[in-house]
Symmetry: C2
Subunit: 241 residues, 2 copies
């Protein structure tokens, strides 16, 4: 399951979605020369807010979280980093967010200087990075709506739907029925993402379970029998009559 650390780009699971998506064979060869892998265990900090980040990276496998903390301890997650997502920002060395491995994580890293040279030489990479950044911006804005206007129940539903959607986009087979989510997020991580407390998250998940909109299989595994029914709980669409 976990990728070998000497993976060749051509065999890489995120080959067609990450920042390198548009590169041809020759370009990949050049990436191959400068990339290196890093592994983090679940729970490990990848970067501390304010620290220098000497590299940029793509998430190859696992899930990481990006969060901001106020000095009195309040925490808000600002991004969920799934495979193919990019970490770091060209032209700036400090990251303003804590990045933490939520599960075991493998990163494909590039030292900063070589990467910035790549950006100049290979417009494919710069173009793809722009596209990915614009996607992230859209995602952040959608999440602003969740945080600013949705109820606790709608927030939970929105999270589950967005993870399910993203997960589904990885599978080619359009699964006709049950969607099984194995989300490696503690209640605490969810609450940090949703702008709620863990108690509220727990209550709303229990309630969705009791009502049959989702099915709980242990603490972390969730089965969605009817995605449309769950989607109706997100608040995004007027309820069908």
């Amino acid at each position: 399951m976990t990728p070998r650390l000497d993976l060749r780009c051509a065999d890489c699971g995120i080959r067609h979605r990450a920042v390198c998506a548009r590169c041809d064979e020759t370009e990949l060869a050049r990436l191959e020369e400068v990339k290196f892998y890093r592994r983090y265990e679940a729970g490990q900090k990848i970067v501390w807010a304010g620290d220098d980040l000497s590299f940029v990276a793509s998430v190859v496998s696992g899930i990481a979280t990006m969060a901001q903390t106020l000095e009195d301890g309040r925490v808000q997650m600002v991004g969920l980093l799934l495979p193919s997502d990019f970490i770091g920002r060209p032209g700036r060395t400090v990251t303003p967010y804590d990045i933490t491995a939520a599960s075991d994580v493998t990163l494909c890293c590039f030292r900063r200087a070589p990467f910035e040279r790549l950006l100049v030489d290979m417009p494919h990479v710069a173009g793809r990075l722009l596209e990915m950044t614009l996607d992230e911006l859209d995602a952040a804005r959608e999440w602003m709506l969740v945080l600013g206007r949705k109820t606790a129940r709608e927030r939970i539903a929105s999270l589950l739907v967005s993870v399910a959607r993203r997960e589904a986009s990885f599978d080619l087979a359009p699964r006709s029925h049950d969607i099984r989510l194995d989300l490696p997020l503690t209640r605490e991580a969810m609450s940090e993402y949703l702008g709620l407390t863990i108690e509220t998250v727990s209550r709303q998940i229990s309630r969705l379970g009791r009502e049959g909109t989702i099915m709980l299989d242990g603490k972390r595994r969730i089965v969605i029998p009817d995605l449309d029914r769950l989607r109706a709980e997100t608040g995004d669409e007027a309820v069908a009559v």
Copy 2:
């Protein structure tokens, strides 16, 4: 005050901040050929969510808002567009947000096809656009913290500080004392931005005024006698003892 509609790039107020910031004289000449201006009056819709946007543009003057609406009427603003900000996204024609002129607004527009050719030919423009998008992403994430974790009072303070900061970066003169904000936002617009109701916005502004942290000069003009004191209300820093 309002710019002439036949403005030359060299004389443009956003010349050094907008997407064209890094262009040299020759490159500006090329932009000059394809750009055109549009004006919108306060209150006018610039784009409706879901509509095709046939151009991309920079805000030259005025303030516009970007908002998302749920079908039951809940609204969340996802961006405040100030002079030099960019509207539209290369590679996609529909905008997922309503964009509205909050004051009279002038845009410097480019038809989509020529602009996308520019992006390929002029890496300066693509690079600057990436940089601006990354800045927007940071701003969106900072706002997620506001929406997810801050109290009503902290949200108001955060809004005022961020507008003051942005305003200040336009003036060269580092104003030694009173900051005067002339923010052309109704209470409703503020509430949409802050994820609150207009009543709560009104109450908190009154309260900050009563306490002397800000001074109200009519409905829309706000004077900040001590920026640090206001900043202490944003929740961002531990309160100094």
